[in-house]
């Protein structure tokens, strides 16, 4: 025992020693990109300018999109990677519930793939990414049923042309918009599935399904439009969210908390034993989530600022930060737990990894590796504090959707405004305004998600009822909601 504590403190001291070192390295590096940006600007301007207008104006002219097959290949792979996160999440959550609820919990994630997959094609993509209806609040209905993504050239022979998605109009690189639409579809699927962690072991399946449809339509689609669409009001304000810290994690985490107000605690919480029934499933889920997250973050280079490359240096940076931050966060959660409660738990390390992934998501392509390391270390500590808060306040967020995604997403969005140095500048680079913009985005998105979810939960509670009967809850949702059991051994 004493030896272990000693070991823990040594590791902690080593880690703590690295913080000022990397912070110093950070400061030195900050000078460099600023200079590089200035030097690179005329270069970038010169290339398209030479073709379009020899007079070389101050801002380069827009160029026509040209299909880039390399970027397209990477985005197809990224989309599939993000899809894999959803069964990963199902395993992550499924292992943490009691044996009698494993299937129902995994179904919460899987059925989101079904419902949102259909919703996205019919109306979701249009609401999020079609031209603005007005005020930067919501897309219009022009891309209903993915309309316009395939352009019919000659109906008699079936000759078509594919609409292109060009992120940066100063460079030609583009991918088929269909690929972009499907990539974004995966994000919509997983975001609502994240919320299910708070409802596990007591929510009525039918009410959950209706919630998935309504929440994605009324909360996710508008938020994606606000933050990621060039006409969105938060995008125009300059809010930074590389891969979805605000849109995905903050919104789902805060919504989880709002939903809990009407859902209430599980029967027997917190006195009854509700230990995870199969942590190996959970740890396998952590692995799949991390693997898929490379598509989530590195794939988001497709919407990176000042570059058209989806599979280039920016994707490489996001890939690096997505490796470093969760590694550091797994360690910092593990060590914090080791010191605080005496043992380094496997669930603790896994939770730390997920916390690190959540926190680095909004910053993945905006910060340098040193900052990613610091953000990761902080992520493990802050989210560990987040789950302890639950034990103290006695609200029943079954699988810590708020503790990890709500707190981590908010924390990451704010830290992005502190550490950003690549393609944007944050507080440490002397841009105080960016931090304020991040705070505005956090408060606006958080408040919107909270209020709309609260209304949705209230209406569903009064009409369908959110919870299963007490007796069914005790029997387990697998049997009472799905007429199955996870293990017939």
């Amino acid at each position: 025992m004493k030896l272990k504590l000693y070991l823990a403190s040594i590791m902690f001291i080593i880690m703590a020693g690295m913080i000022p070192l990397s912070a110093m390295a950070e400061e030195k590096k900050e000078e460099a990109p600023a200079a590089a940006a200035i030097a690179a600007a005329p270069d970038a301007a010169a290339a398209p300018a030479a073709e379009a207008a020899p007079a070389a104006p101050a801002t380069p002219p827009d160029v026509k999109p040209v299909l880039n097959t390399g970027d397209t290949a990477w985005m197809l792979v990224s989309s599939a990677l993000v899809l894999l996160m959803i069964p990963g999440l199902a395993l992550f959550y499924g292992g943490m519930v009691r044996q009698k609820n494993v299937l129902s919990t995994m179904m919460h994630s899987l059925v989101a793939m079904g419902i949102v997959g259909v919703q996205w094609a019919v109306i979701g993509y249009s609401l999020a990414f079609a031209p603005d209806m007005g005020g930067g609040l919501l897309g219009n209905f022009s891309k209903f049923m993915l309309n316009g993504l395939i352009i019919m050239k000659d109906a008699s022979s079936g000759v078509v042309e594919y609409a292109l998605f060009q992120n940066y109009t100063k460079e030609p690189g583009a991918i088929p918009e269909l690929v972009f639409a499907m990539y974004q579809c995966m994000f919509a699927m997983i975001t609502v599935a994240l919320i299910s962690g708070a409802m596990a072991e007591r929510v009525k399946f039918s009410a959950y399904c209706v919630f998935v449809l309504l929440w994605t339509t009324l909360v996710y689609d508008p938020l994606a439009h606000w933050v990621w669409m060039t006409e969105g009001w938060l995008f125009k304000k300059g809010a930074l969210d590389f891969a979805g810290g605000t849109v995905v994690h903050l919104s789902s985490g805060i919504s989880a908390l709002a939903f809990l107000i009407f859902l209430g605690k599980r029967h027997g919480y917190p006195t009854e034993r509700m230990a995870p029934h199969n942590l190996p499933l959970t740890l396998l889920g952590v692995g799949l989530l991390w693997f898929g997250w490379f598509g989530f973050n590195a794939g988001s280079a497709i919407v990176g600022v000042n570059t058209s490359d989806a599979a280039g240096g920016l994707a490489g940076l996001a890939f690096a930060t997505t490796t470093i931050a969760p590694a550091a966060a797994g360690l910092s959660w593990m060590i914090a737990e080791w010191i605080h409660s005496g043992k380094p738990s496997a669930l603790g390390f896994g939770s730390g990894v997920v916390a690190g992934l959540v926190v680095i998501t909004p910053a993945a392509g905006f910060v340098q590796p040193g900052a990613a390391l610091l953000m990761g270390l902080a992520a493990g500590l802050v989210c560990y504090g987040g789950i302890l808060l639950k034990a103290k306040l006695k609200y029943d967020d079954s699988l810590d959707a708020f503790g990890v995604h709500g707190i981590g997403g908010t924390f990451g969005a704010i830290l992005t405004g502190v550490f950003a140095t690549v393609g944007a500048t944050g507080l440490l680079a002397g841009n105080f305004k960016q931090l304020m913009t991040q705070l505005i985005a956090v408060v606006a998105a958080g408040a919107y998600a909270f209020i709309v979810t609260l209304v949705l939960a209230f209406i569903l509670d009064k009409t369908m009822g959110l919870r299963v009967e007490k007796e069914d809850e005790i029997m387990g949702l697998d049997q009472t909601q799905h007429s199955e059991s996870g293990y017939n051994m």
């Binding site: 943490m96 917190p270 034993r273 509700m274 230990a275 995870p276 409660s341 043992k343 738990s345 669930l347 603790g348 939770s351 789950i387 302890l388 639950k390 034990a391 810590d400 503790g403």
Partner: protein
Amino acid sequence: MKLIEAIIKPFKLDEVKDALNEIGIEGITVSEVKGYGRQKGHTELYRGAEYVVDFIPKIKLEIAVSDELVNKVVETIMNTAKTGRIGDGKIFVIPLEEAVRIRTGEQGSEAI
């Protein structure tokens, strides 16, 4: 005849079985059981939620023996199952009225 019931630590089962074999015991019945005595349970911690596990897994042996073997068997189990730490278990000796071998119909000491 006596029925000897012994509750031991699970990892000691093989050792005890071998030792009983050596002194000529030809059959034992083993079950996985849970319980608590002076050892009490332990606590488990999952993301800050603490659960006390009251019942600890143990192995229960049941051995039917003729009267003259009782002391030897009890001694053998005691010696091999002992670790000296709390939670080593208990041995109960219970009078046994009758024993029947189902296949042949033999009765009494013949049957065990």
